[in-house]
Amino acid sequence: MAKVSPEGAEAFETDFWKDANLRKAWDDIVPGEPRKTLAYTLTKEAIELYCKSVGEDHPIYFDEAYAKTTRYGGLIAPPSIHILLMFSCTPADDWMRSPGTVNAGQSWSYNLPARPGDVIRLEARALDKFIKRERLFVVHDNVFFNQRNEVICSGRGWTIRPV
């Protein structure tokens, strides 16, 4: 499978089997231990592609002149842009990419919108791991910041790890 190169970003490895042996399995994940993360510049193009994938068509994401008239004063990304940020702010050996990782649920709180041009960083860790009905769970805990160190959003997710 080919790599994709979002504008302004290094080539993103789309083959999640590659480097799979470098990723931590459930047994190796230490709750509380920080995950490696990467800074990522969010582009208008990346926002537009994300919007297209879920049918977002509100002008506040596309129309600069309109967006200037709103309380936000300019273009913003949809709150759920953290779905993209989770992968763009983590390296290829991050265990969230392990093939077979099943997402059981997530909760997110939104403080400020992300905007095109923001340089976004992530602080992330496994918060908890447990076994329930013979399934191996890990809870991940994440906070995204903009270039002014303001919190964009914070969230947590429950994943079932591949056996």
């Binding site: 789309t14 999640f16 994938s53 879920v54 077979g100 099943v102 649920g105 997110w108 056996v163």
Partner: protein, 145 residues
């Protein structure tokens, strides 16, 4: 009638957009989210079992549900002067190519705090046969003017 915090009531409903799920829509979500987990791409891989689960074929990203619910909430909130502040979801059933899903919301309660006003909304996503595929809860803020 224009919706305001004052005239919102428990039981008021919000209808979200219908969304037709296809291999192409799932692939587009891979490209947009950079989530290329083979759960969403590889039919052969999906014939196997995942511990206690067997899906039988590729499935839509759970976060595609999340994105649709979020779209419903913001499209409802922006014209009413409200702000989407929180969303919590659980995935109940897998969604597959060929399904059509639709998020909905029902106002559960309102609360006024020291400096703002809040609405709690129960959210869910159903498929074309009415089965719940995702459930959750959202919180919207109506800032004091």
């Amino acid at each position: 009638m224009t919706t305001t915090f004052e005239n919102l009531n428990p039981g008021d409903s919000i209808d979200g957009p219908q969304f037709a799920v296809s291999r192409e829509s799932i692939r587009l979500f891979c490209d947009a989210s950079l989530d290329y987990n083979p759960l969403h791409l590889d039919d052969d891989y999906m014939k196997g079992s995942f511990g206690k689960t067997n899906f039988g074929g590729i499935i839509m990203h759970g976060m595609n549900n999340f994105g649709l619910i979020s779209r419903m909430l913001t499209d409802w909130a922006y014209p009413r002067g409200a702000i989407h502040r929180r969303l919590e979801t659980r995935w109940v059933k897998p969604v597959r190519p060929g399904d059509t899903i639709q998020p909905t919301g029902i106002v559960k309660s309102k609360q006024v705090t020291k400096s703002s006003r809040w609405v709690l909304i129960d959210v869910m996503v159903r498929n074309q046969t009415g089965e719940k595929v995702a459930t959750g809860e959202a919180m919207l803020e109506f800032p004091n003017e």
